[in-house]
């Protein structure tokens, strides 16, 4: 299966080289593409100097737009599978092979790398865990499917779902909403346990301040996605 790793990167000059090294060492069968989301630091320069495979977005689109650009690239270039992989070093490339195998073996359309099946490794902060449990509950309520890690950015999709995402992908906080959207349209989603690390450098894009808005926005978006998909 022709597979590609999509690495959205915004101001990850401290982490991007490590991330690419991890991929080259532990997931050599995968191609990769860095999506530089108009970083204001020297992420672009680092990509150029190291001759990394990258796309440079002319305007900042946010995580949703950047990842969607990656899916579009993967779709146009004929890939069979595309994995999302964080550029901040929190994800571990050695799980990518396992995720790809799971995709094929279980005949799933998406496989999510979940931190909460084995509950090992960096488990995120307490408040975030509460929020994630809430989303797991809400998604189970609406779709009768249990997704233990709906906010995980470590996800692999097959070409069918890749095409769907190319044309429909949320702009911000995209993971829970796109998961429900896929489930509502009848796609099959599986999960495998993975271990994630704590972010070493730079800042996360979701802070305490927009936490409340995040919860409301994603809850409503999930509801709308469920209703829309049902038709």
């Amino acid at each position: 299966m022709k597979s590609i790793i999509i690495i959205p990167a915004y101001n990850e000059s401290g982490n991007i080289e490590k991330t690419i090294k991890d991929i080259k060492d532990n997931a050599p069968d995968f191609d990769y593409i860095i999506i530089n989301d108009c970083s204001t630091d020297n992420t672009l320069e680092i990509c150029r100097n190291n001759n990394f495979n990258y796309i440079n977005l002319p305007i900042n689109l946010g995580i949703g737009g950047a990842v969607q650009a990656g899916y579009r690239y993967a779709f146009y270039h004929g890939y069979d599978a595309a994995v999302q992989f964080d550029g901040d070093g929190q994800h571990d490339a050695k799980y990518l092979g396992k995720m790809l195998d799971c995709l094929a073996e279980t005949d799933s359309d998406m496989v999510i790398g979940s931190r909460f099946i084995e509950k090992e490794g960096f488990q995120s902060s307490g408040i975030r865990r509460v929020g994630i449990k809430y989303f797991t509950f809400l998604i189970r309520l609406l779709t009768k499917t249990t997704i233990t890690d709906p906010t995980s950015g470590m996800r692999i999709v097959n070409r069918s779902l890749m095409k769907d995402f190319t044309f429909n992908y949320p702009k911000d906080y995209p993971e829970p909403e796109s998961t429900v959207s896929a489930l509502s349209k009848g796609y099959k989603i599986s999960e495998v346990p993975v271990i994630m690390k704590e972010r070493e450098e730079g800042k996360s894009s979701i802070s305490m301040l927009n936490g409340g808005y995040y919860m409301i926005k994603v809850s409503l978006a999930i509801l709308i996605a469920r209703i829309k998909g049902g038709k």
Binding site: P58, I59, N168, K171, K217, L220, A221, I224, A225, I227, K228
Partner: protein, 119 residues
């Protein structure tokens, strides 16, 4: 406020909320902006269900006529929304400009590349 008027307003607002959510679902309306309009509809509905609230608030603020207060705050709200939209439009114009420049340069580079290969 007559009962007829109350029912009319509440029905209109409910309809508005349904329309707004459908548009958001079809990706024809931005979520943030849509949510704003939904909140406004809900507020209007609250005032329609409980007209006494209007009188109470205007008394508290020292405005003699509740209708004046309604117009006053309504206008302020509309001005704030228009201002927010102006900001959005300005941002969009900047983005369009940037994209146009990028495409123009991309075209030239591609053109130069093609010609170089043909020589």
């Amino acid at each position: 406020m007559s009962l007829k008027l109350q029912i009319l307003i509440i029905t209109c607002m409910l309809l508005a909320i349904v329309v707004i959510f459908r548009k958001i679902g079809k990706n024809k309306l931005d979520f943030k902006l849509g949510l704003l309009w939904v909140v406004i509809s809900i507020v209007v509905m609250i005032f329609a269900i409980w007209p006494g609230l209007l009188s109470r608030i205007s008394q508290f603020l020292g405005i003699y006529d509740p209708v004046n207060m309604l117009f006053f705050f309504g206008i302020i709200l509309l001005v704030m929304i228009i201002f927010a939209l102006s900001s959005e439009i300005s941002k969009l114009k900047e983005q369009v400009k940037r994209l146009s420049q990028e495409i123009a340069i991309l075209r030239k580079d591609t053109y130069d590349d093609i010609n170089k290969n043909q020589k």
